[in-house]
């Protein structure tokens, strides 16, 4: 597979420490397109080895708007189903830049390891120095060791190591959309996580046309009035939650976007630093970056102040546990109680529809109505929209906001980028495969 691709699938067997590479066949892309179309295919191929499959969408890391996402596909220890979790921030694109489109992790390691993926090289590295450390310490340690502050990580913390059902795989220092307990799966495999960095380029079949069409679509996207808004609180307001903006405002420092995503959906809260600071903080831990609207809302609904909610979210990120599950299932109402509850979280978080996609994303459109009516139609649309975003690698929250990101133009760009004829029929078949 020459275009929009590194042409490589990595197969890692943790039990034998063997690393193999396979070429990504063009025929597989013609059949399954990419993203979770292919991660599911690879999951099924290696199902006997209890695999975790990491992937990227066909458009991930390109100039198509919001092409920020990667994916994790695995069997959830929470639901028992094969589920798909988006990889957001800048981490999703770094997977592809680091030299692999897909990574299959089989088996369990006899001792703790992490996977250092860089420029098409995969190293199984001893994690003795980071095992037992929290997500922040582990990420800092690896960045210091590798000598690069832009290193992108997917790490578990003590929750994953201790086998908590709601252990998350965190991205860099922050909580992730993982509601499936994939962190527990990592821990069971003695896999502390991944570090990604690459300095490669992605080839595009028709580069000029690709960029031109991307920019045309971006221009259309930017005509949306919702792009005047920013951050998590305004999403919650759009969902009908009142008072969140006033509540969070005193600790809000800034909002940031995922790779090439026009809406800044992540909100940085400053807890031990002046939120009005206009220069880079000199403090080691000024605050926390939050991407989980329902976790934030959950802590608000428990009666916490925004400052305490931020501190609870920070503690969850460090421990590597799903903050929504902590808020929803923990039954605690003070910051100290919440911090002490991480090891005793149990119960079930509802996973909507077929249970394939994370309810980290609101289960309906945001800021636009997409012409939908009725709960059934909305839920069917949501599930298809999640599938589409994870096939092509689109930031899944933004996919819910923006009607200009259509299946047609994703297919058009995919065809321009790859020189393959990818049709609506193929896409429909891939979605059937994912839902089946």
């Amino acid at each position: 597979m020459e275009y929009l691709s590194t042409d490589k699938i990595l197969i890692i067997d943790l039990s034998t420490a063997e690393v193999e590479e396979e070429e990504l066949d063009e025929s597989l892309v013609e059949e399954k397109i990419g993203g979770i179309g292919i991660t599911k295919y690879l999951y099924n191929k290696y199902v006997d080895d209890d695999p975790i499959v990491i992937g990227t969408g066909l458009l991930t890391g390109t100039t198509y708007p919001a092409s920020a996402a990667g994916q994790i596909t695995a069997k959830s220890p929470v639901t028992g189903k094969v589920c798909h979790c988006p990889v957001i921030y800048k981490t999703g694109v770094e997977i592809k830049y680091s030299g692999f489109d897909y990574i299959v992790v089989k088996g369990s390691s006899p001792s703790p390891v992490y996977l250092w993926i860089h420029d098409g090289v995969a190293d199984i590295s001893d994690a003795a120095d980071v095992w037992g450390k929290d997500v922040w310490e582990s990420t800092d340690e690896l960045r210091k060791f590798v000598g690069d502050d832009l290193l992108q990580t997917m790490m578990i913390g003590p929750a994953g190591e201790n086998g908590s059902d709601y252990a998350q795989v965190c991205y860099n220092h922050w909580n992730s959309p993982d509601r499936f307990g994939f962190g527990k799966l990592f821990g069971a495999k003695n896999l502390k996580g991944f570090a990604f960095r690459g300095m490669g380029l992605i080839e595009v079949a028709e580069p000029e046309d690709y960029v031109e069409r991307s920019l045309e679509i971006l221009k259309e996207v930017k005509e949306n009035s919702f792009l005047e808004k920013k951050g998590l609180a305004q999403i919650l307001t759009a969902l009908g939650e009142e008072g969140v903006e006033e509540w969070i405002e005193p600790v809000t420092h800034r909002h940031s976007a995922d790779y090439f995503t026009p809406y800044a959906s992540n909100t940085a809260l400053f807890l031990d630093e002046d939120p009005g600071l206009l220069e880079e903080s000199k403090k080691d831990e000024p605050g926390v970056l939050v991407s989980d609207i329902y976790a934030l809302l959950g802590f608000k609904n428990l009666g916490l102040s925004a400052d305490d909610a931020g501190r609870a979210l920070k503690a969850c990120a460090k421990y590597g546990i799903d903050p929504f599950a902590v808020a929803e299932l923990g039954g605690k109402t003070t910051l100290e109680e919440i911090k002490g509850s991480f090891d005793s979280i149990s119960g079930e978080v509802a996973i909507p529809a077929r249970g394939l996609f994370t309810p980290w994303c609101p289960t309906g459109p945001l800021f636009n109505d997409f012409g939908l009516e009725g709960e059934d139609e909305i839920m069917a649309w949501w599930e298809r929209r999640q599938a589409i975003s994870m096939i092509f690698g689109i930031q899944p929250l933004f996919a819910l906001m923006c009607p200009e990101l259509t299946e047609e133009n994703m297919l058009e760009l995919a065809s321009l980028g790859t020189d393959l004829e990818l049709t609506q029929e193929t896409l429909d078949a891939v979605i059937d495969y994912i839902f089946g």
Partner: protein, 410 residues
Amino acid sequence: MNSPKIGLYAGSGTSHSWLWFVDLFEKAGFYNLAFPDEFCVQNDGIKDLDVLVVSGGDTFAVAYSLGEAGGLNIKSFVEQGGVYIGSCAGAYLPMKSSQKPLDLFNFVDVKITNLSKLFPGEEIQTCKSCAAYGHDFVFHPVREALALKTTSFLNADKRFEFDAPLYGGPGMKAHDPSWVLANYTGFTPKTVFFTSHEIADKTLMGNGAVVRVPLKKGCFYLLGPHLEHPKFKQANQFIIDAVIRETGMARNPVELENKKERYAAKEKLSGKKAKELLLCIRRELSNSRIVTGSLEFLPVQWLIGQKVYEPQKIRVYLESMWKRLRFLGKKKVLILDPGLSERIIHASSQITIELRRIKQQIDENLDSLKTAIIIFDLLHILSISFFELYFGTMFNGMDPYHERLKSKTS
């Protein structure tokens, strides 16, 4: 007919610009390349060469490393028919000087025009634009691209203009005007001035940019600007034409039997072993590129000898090897001298360690100069070793220059 054997001096004191010569000669089909260091030059290791290239860097450090033995061998090499090509620092080296250790290399009667008895003072704008040169000061009135024009002594019928970048190289006045093959004739929109236009004009314009000085059977080519810079194709061609014109064919054609003997003595790696070696190189080059990318964000530079080094120069070394890895990956057999793979593995992993060390030193505001010196030494060792592997593997057993000429003839 054999391709001329070209030695690219890659020993102490050279900067990254010898890597530009590697690119230039490879593109031109001159694959019979060697990479002598100071020990090789001092120990008669250049006598089989047709051309010796000494690129940019720190003239004093190059002279100090080569020493008296190196100087005598270079002189003897040229007298016996060899072609010396010196670019920038390599051009200063054989000019007459009373300063030690440059006085060991007084081979050509060419004067530097960008030399001042007095410290140039306020008209000189940056530390990069002036350096002590014994009792005098070499100053650099401009950087980047300048316009050059060939003289009638190169070709009376056809003079032509081309651009080449100046990064501290000399303007020259030759004892015999017929030695001058190209003059500085103008500035370009890309020229960056470190002095007034007037001083720059007076120092360079009309003076020699390329000088050829004969010495017995051989000659010295002195290049003020970096004609080998990869973005200046016409200037590159000037060097290629000079090599073809001066060598015609190799002085020391290698007999087939010798070739076979040499090939038999080489180590051949194939299958898993070859893959493992390439993976090891790839791993360490990647690790090094990643740290270097991070260093490039930091406001840091090191003064090593007389030369200022920035992290971007580390990148030039690493990229020169990185971009060639995929071609090696397509070869079924790697051909190398015994012990070379161990040297490559050791040097490449050491570079990663030292780069990670220097990043931490900078992050913690510690002095990093000693580590920088180690890193640039290791980069020299690694790149020399890598190019021995690369050219040994890619072109061993065949001579593309010969093939090219044969196809042209047919």
